[in-house]
Point group: C2
Chain length 175, copies 2
């Protein structure tokens, strides 16, 4: 932030506002405190028979690596609706029967992943604009060295563990 | 947003950027796309014996009403750490053994509540700066008509239901 989005002044500095205990970007001209908060990434691991659907990323970061369909939650949608939309956009697939599966915070990147499990409605999927390739993987086929983000490794590992134990759980992690 | 936070220009307008499908605030001078995303509110319902701890709000919105301790997740902290901090700040209490309990989206206010259950470490609590009063409530004592937010009603109702059924669950809701 170089300029105040309220008044246009360049007098932006980091200060602890009165009654607060953290450094915030504050405008020296109009006094507006500019808060920055972590962003939510909503996603869903689509399941079909004994396999899960991953997408190979066509965009940075981590272009070319495999990922659980996920993306920034938009204003006005629930996390569940955001997850369903992201599967549609990235994998051109419909999921239903969603169940919350993982919450994973990247504290350094200010991202919180909220990821569901969902069943593919009809087993059909495609390749969205931000995707190079979509594919169903059995556990043995998962390309563990080519998974884009720790949040996806976390979700996949917990999914296969839960399937073995027969006890579906919701898992909270962070890095 | 009245001015571009990147270049200071007042030429901010709502447009659909190339490759996007939503209206965004875009700077006509430097081209920066300003994304706005939902914010995370992390909270925890503290438990002690057969009671839960609520705080009466000293600040707007909903000043004077009772709430589950919760507040905006800060940059650099996990949702669990944020929930623990909020209990400390609002109720001057320590919680441990946290377990994820509810995710509740206010689609109109762009807030996603992520709330845990946690045990008070020693049964001690106080009154934080943003709190008028803190109190332990049994189920029969909950002031249902004076609960600040739908997210807290949701969390409290699910908590007492789960306790009756003996099956702790994670609940996803939205309004």
């Amino acid at each position: 932030m170089n300029y105040c989005s309220n008044c246009g002044s360049p007098q932006i500095s980091w200060r602890v506002p009165p009654g607060d205990n953290r450094l915030r970007q504050v405008c020296g001209a109009c006094g507006t405190v500019h808060y920055h908060n972590p962003k939510i990434i909503a996603g869903c691991l689509p399941m079909w028979e004994d396999k899960v659907l991953l997408c190979r990323r066509a965009i940075e970061p981590r272009q070319g690596l495999w990922n659980v369909p996920a993306g920034f939650l938009e204003i006005g949608e629930s996390v569940e609706a955001g997850a369903i939309r992201e599967v549609q956009e990235e994998a051109e697939a419909q999921v239903h029967q969603l169940r919350l599966h993982t919450i994973f915070t990247f504290t350094n990147f200010h991202h919180v992943y909220i990821q569901f499990l969902g069943e593919l409605v009809d087993g059909q999927f495609g390749v969205g604009e931000e995707t190079l390739e979509s594919r169903l993987f059995s556990e043995e086929e998962i390309p563990w060295d080519e998974i884009a983000f720790a949040s996806s490794v976390f979700a996949l590992q917990r999914f296969f563990e839960d399937r073995k134990s027969g006890v579906p759980q919701v898992h909270v992690g962070s890095i």
